[in-house]
Amino acid sequence: MKKIKLVSAAAGFPSPAENYVEEQLDLNKYLIKNKESSFFVRVSGDSMINVGIFDNDILIVDRSLTPVRQSIILASIDGELVIKKIIKDKLKNYYLKSENNNYPNIKLNSNTDTMIWGVVTYVLHSLK
């Protein structure tokens, strides 16, 4: 049986790169700014293709961020978790834009059954 080495011992010449070795890039560090407030969710449905969110994509949601205009957010509407975009009208009222024309936009702060859960920061989309 082949032995598996846990620590590779140096033999021969030391690598000329040794003094330049930096930590390998870590996707976690890049995608997650706040570990304590970040969560993953999976998308179902494809009516947000226009903003780059496809069916079955994984989203990173950060609860610590405050949403602004055009933010993609995760909201809880009537007990359901739904992805929405925040828009502002001329009277400076904020709305959750409905991707379905049959439904009106939801005015924020008008409905206690609507709550912002967190702000979507990244989309993980597989090309396979």
Binding site: N34, E36, S37, V41, S44, G45, G79, L81, V82, M115
Partner: protein, 443 residues
């Protein structure tokens, strides 16, 4: 000053975070094996559901009141708890994690204590979605009592609350009123047994206990209760222990979902517990010398039997293979046919760190076909692989019960020893298959 952070209805709050449908509804969470109620939403408390009530006794009440019942889902609760404790540690220097949903922390050297605590509570609510209460007081015992007051706000409406979830009882007469209305049984560290003795001696509430002669208490019930008396007076006795003491022992045991009769089924449960215990031990970088196996029938059984056996190794070990070999041997020795068992478990103890191991001159009899040299390396390798690919990917070959580590709920007879958890929610934060599904359209 000491503060106690306590998550409100913690397990229910976790369930609600990922399932907002549960907000505003009566919800309860059950203990392991779906036995008793261990967490209740305020709505469930108002219906009159008591803490610790067995599920089978109140099934009708739950159905009639449309109470949502959840099995406990510790992978979610543990993850959310870690997040909360990390936020706390990042904001305060001296923190003692007291339980999954409670932590003491020091407020010394702070000017605006109450404000800092309000900020912390708001941050935790925003970041993790869990509502918390923070009681501020001179001692741990008083901080516990203060937290109780926050939770029973409606009874204590005459106290001036500056915020809904943070409280420091400043006025002397307010504290006296609170102590007089706190049953002595509800004082931290007293409990049922001691309260019977105290009540017989006419000590009925926290105020009575505070007024007790401390040397009388010490003589009768020991130094721990004396400390409680002093702490009620505002004398700091229990410091915040922010450095965890080394573990003394690790026990893994669970009641079976269904009672077991045969040796093989007991063995297949035990091997899972032994692997869990050994991996917990490795996480703390410890070696153990003593292995204990215990076995018992349910106390409601007509044929009662319980037994345990301990084996002490000559030299401490970290090697799972050796620990299992000993455990397997011990189980064989204490197992008796014709009993119906409800529980089996393993205790690892007598720990030491690698540096302080005394090498023995003679070889262990049980150890002779396990190469000692590679033990540490192999265990490390198992942990690395299991960390990357999921717990249980590498396990002992005797552990042939393939179903244990699958996350699917299974009603198969053969694995009936597994815990009952009929109403468990998905592992929202620890399994890619279970992360919350969100819609992009509401219709």
């Amino acid at each position: 000053m000491i503060a106690l952070l306590d998550c409100n209805n913690f397990y229910v709050s976790c369930e609600r975070l990922f399932n907002p449908k549960l907000v505003g509804k009566p919800v309860v969470v059950l203990s392991n094996n779906d036995g008793c109620i261990i967490s209740r939403s305020d709505e469930a408390k108002n219906i009159g559901i008591k803490m610790g009530e067995p599920l089978f006794k109140i099934k009708d009440k739950l159905t009639n009141n449309k109470v949502v019942v959840c099995s406990s889902n510790y992978s979610v609760y543990g993850d959310i708890s870690n997040r909360i404790m990390n936020i706390l540690k990042n904001n305060f220097d001296k923190v003692e994690i007291y339980s999954i949903d409670e932590a003491f922390f020091s407020l010394d050297k702070l000017n605006n204590k109450e404000e800092e605590c309000v900020d912390l509570a708001n941050k935790i609510l925003k970041w993790t979605g869990i509502p918390v209460s923070i009681g501020i007081a001179k001692t741990k015992t008083l901080a516990k009592i203060t937290n109780r007051v926050i939770k029973k706000k409606n009874i204590y409406s005459k106290l001036d609350f500056h915020s809904s979830n943070v409280l420091e009882i400043r006025r002397k007469e307010d504290l006296e009123y609170v102590l007089k209305t706190t049953d002595v049984e509800d004082v931290w560290g007293v409990g049922k047994k001691l309260s019977i003795f105290l009540k017989d001696n006419n000590v009925k509430n926290a105020f009575n206990l505070k007024e007790c002669n401390e040397s009388f208490i010490r003589k009768k019930k020991g130094v721990i209760l004396e400390r409680t008396v002093l702490e009620l007076r505002g004398v700091l006795c229990n410091q915040i222990e922010d450095v965890l003491p080394d573990k003394k022992s690790i026990c893994v045991s669970r009641s079976f979902g269904r009672k077991l009769r045969y040796y093989d089924s007991l063995r297949s449960a035990l091997i899972v517990y032994v692997q869990k215990a050994a991996s917990k031990m490795r996480m703390s970088n410890l070696f153990c010398r003593t292995i204990t196996i215990f076995l018992k029938t349910s106390r409601y059984e007509s044929n009662l039997y319980k037994n345990s056996k301990t084996y002490t190794l000559i030299e401490p070990t970290i090697d799972l293979r050796l620990i299992w070999k000993v455990s397997d041997k011990l189980l064989k020795e204490i197992y008796k046919e014709s009993f119906i068992y409800s529980k089996v478990g393993v205790i690892l103890s007598d720990f030491c760190k690698k540096e302080s191991i005394q090498m023995s001159l003679i070889d262990e009899k049980l150890n002779n076909d396990i190469s000692k040299k590679n033990g540490v390396k192999i265990m490390k390798l198992i942990d690395i692989i299991n960390n990357r690919f999921g717990y249980g990917k590498i396990k002992l070959s005797s552990d042939c019960d393939k179903n244990f580590f699958s996350k699917e709920k299974n009603s198969n007879e053969e694995i009936s020893w597994q815990m009952k958890s009929e109403y468990r929610s998905p592992c929202y934060t620890t399994s890619w298959d279970d992360i919350p599904k969100v819609k992009v359209k509401n219709e």
